[in-house]
Symmetry: C2
Subunit: 233 residues, 2 copies
DNA sequence: CAGTATCCATTTCGATACTG
DNA sequence: CAGTATCGAAATGGATACTG
């Protein structure tokens, strides 16, 4: 296995890249994760043993470089790995356009918050500390409440109340917030229908859609559903 | 399996596309194959049972349409399938740039000739019949000699002498011709070193590199090998 | 933090032969 | 032509627990 026996460059690329999880690990590295346990948070359903194995393969293939710095292990994309951005982008754009709507099994609160917390528009946020509290009322016990703490030191994601004053509180179903995140629904509509609710001073509520940058694929135009044939308008 | 449990569009796309062979079948469909046994020639190492299975999955996913016309079964990409061109292109460009040099196990005479025969520049070829004879002296017995017959009716690939007068004869090792085909070597050099030899009237020999269009990825610029650090020139 | 170790159920695929 | 049928070997990966 692994080998297609073809000289075709597509086949050769897939020999490396069609292994389960591989491109998701690459995606994580492209979004800036550099440590083992950071990577794990981006691919939570992947076992650590398998992550190790994939990283080894990628290092071996010259796509990832592994080194130690100050006793911390660092994984980084090589130039070859960086160029996989075009592949990941093409895949994501295709996926958001053509894969069916999100099923319940695609929703993952941990992953959603992890994504949200690393895509905040820090420049748009006020100085000092900002605390975003999330309540996903239908998420599984233990993954229902989250806090994102932003200050000069960076951004922290917590699944336990850090005790700071909350700047704004965001309540939604897991599905509703995910749909906004991937661009299946838009902020205005989600807020108007109440699927996503913001609690806090109006001036700050208005800022939330600015602070939360959405998934890189949220803005991809969706295919226009084909008009029924024979209908004239 | 199949399911990553992620809302990420890259993960959703890979749920469909990371299965072994899938993107190669798509590639075949993108290059114009429409019938089962035509597809098989593009993925010769794939068992027919598996091809059936993949086609079913793709139809189910809305990427391929299957229908019968005049008792022939036809497979065709849907608009969703056509859009996978961007993915296949990105993969191929990456593969040709970053995968290691061709190993012996990547070489396949049948596949090479199949590719060559469907990428001839017919407009550049003379009227009447043209017969290209190939001799791959190191290919396995039975895959050593090939004839491509071009006439008004189209292009035919034969592994047995069709008996027509040969217009030009091309002799090379399997590796040498494959390397030219994927752009790892260029025509001029291959001819100069004799790795590829043409036999026939000079005026026609000059035409061969025009007639044989190369792989779509042959023209992709290759990465410049990094200069050794510390060397000044 | 950054992995190892273990273990087995499940899948998956390749090879080969056959069919309406 | 367009697939089915069958079978077994291999590997893949998920779950879980553990470690320096």
């Amino acid at each position: 296995m692994g080998n297609y026996g073809q000289f075709c460059p597509v086949a050769r690329a897939m020999e490396l890249l069609d292994e389960r999880w591989t491109l998701l690990v690459i995606r994580e590295l492209l979004s800036g994760s550099r440590h083992f346990n950071e990577l794990r948070r981006g691919v939570p359903r992947m076992s650590p043993a398998l992550l190790t194995k994939r990283l080894r393969t990628l290092v071996q293939a010259g796509v990832v470089e592994r080194y130690e710095d100050d006793d911390r292990v660092i994984y980084e994309l090589t130039p070859a790995g960086e160029e996989l951005q075009s592949v990941v982008e093409a895949l994501g754009m295709w996926g958001i356009r053509w894969m069916p709507e999100l099923g319940d099994e695609d929703l993952d609160p941990h992953l959603l918050l992890w994504d949200v917390h690393r895509n905040l528009d820090l420049d748009a946020m006020p100085d000092g500390r900002t605390v975003l509290a999330f309540h996903l009322f239908d998420a599984r016990q233990g993954a229902r409440d989250w806090w994102i703490v932003v200050n000069e030191d960076g951004v922290d994601l917590c699944d336990a109340d850090p005790g700071f004053e909350v700047t704004v509180r965001i309540e939604a179903s897991l599905r509703a917030l995910t749909r906004v995140w991937v661009g299946e629904a838009d902020w205005d509509e989600a807020l108007r229908t109440g699927e996503v609710q913001l609690h806090g001073p109006a001036s700050i509520r208005r800022q939330v859609p600015v602070w939360l940058e959405l998934s890189a694929f949220a803005a991809v135009p969706r295919p226009t559903p084909r008009e029924p044939v024979g209908v004239i308008d």
